[in-house]
Amino acid sequence: MTRVLVGVVLFVMAGCGPKTKPVLVKFDAACLSAVQTIAQVELNLSNFNKITPAQALKIRHALRPVIDLGEQATEALLVWQPGQATPTSVIALAARLTDLLETVAQLLPPGEAQAKLVSAIAFAQSAWAMVMMTINAGDVPTPEMVGGATCQAAL
């Protein structure tokens, strides 16, 4: 595991540097992918009677606010420019993703389907972790920094 980790880090570090909008965009895309995966898994489970219509409905209701925020966040990012505060809808989307994970984990029985959904959400959360790292490096201001001030990236 350590050798793999070192290999991955060295490979990634070669010629790379922190980016702003791309990490936010990738987070958005990862969330959409997670939602699409959840919807497809719900359909598959329902078609094979692995979950009841009531359980399926709970999953779909849980997706609704995530989809709303995903759309809002994407529209906000389309007009977002480096130096501006991170759109609040993007931050809210990250929080909703965690709620979705809890809902899905409770609704589905342990097994392949649950693992697939949890992995999809975890992947999106990893993308959010990258956003937070970029914020911490000083490239993307948090809403608290509104006023135009941005932190200087450490040299």
Binding site: M1, V25, L32, A39, H61, E71, M133, L155
Partner: protein, 75 residues
């Protein structure tokens, strides 16, 4: 960030923690590398966002239709 190692603007320890977490989730190495490099490579972000917006809108329509279908079953 306390305890972090920043090199040329990179939060090195943050990256290591993230990669460790992703590997711990049994995400294949190739996928981890591709995912992270995609975040760092130049790209047309707006084109990706426009595609994502279409995806979210399609997802909304599909989800609402599915909710209506399930509500009819549950009633």
């Amino acid at each position: 960030m306390p305890g972090s190692t920043v090199i040329n603007g990179w939060d090195f320890s943050g990256w290591v923690n993230l990669i460790t977490a992703m590997l711990g989730l049994a995400i294949p190495v190739a996928q981890v590398v591709a995912f992270i490099r995609q975040h760092l490579a130049p790209e047309d972000a707006d084109a990706v966002l426009r595609e994502a917006l279409a995806g979210w809108q399609a997802m909304r329509a599909e989800n609402e239709a599915r909710i209506a279908e399930l509500e009819a079953l549950v009633r």
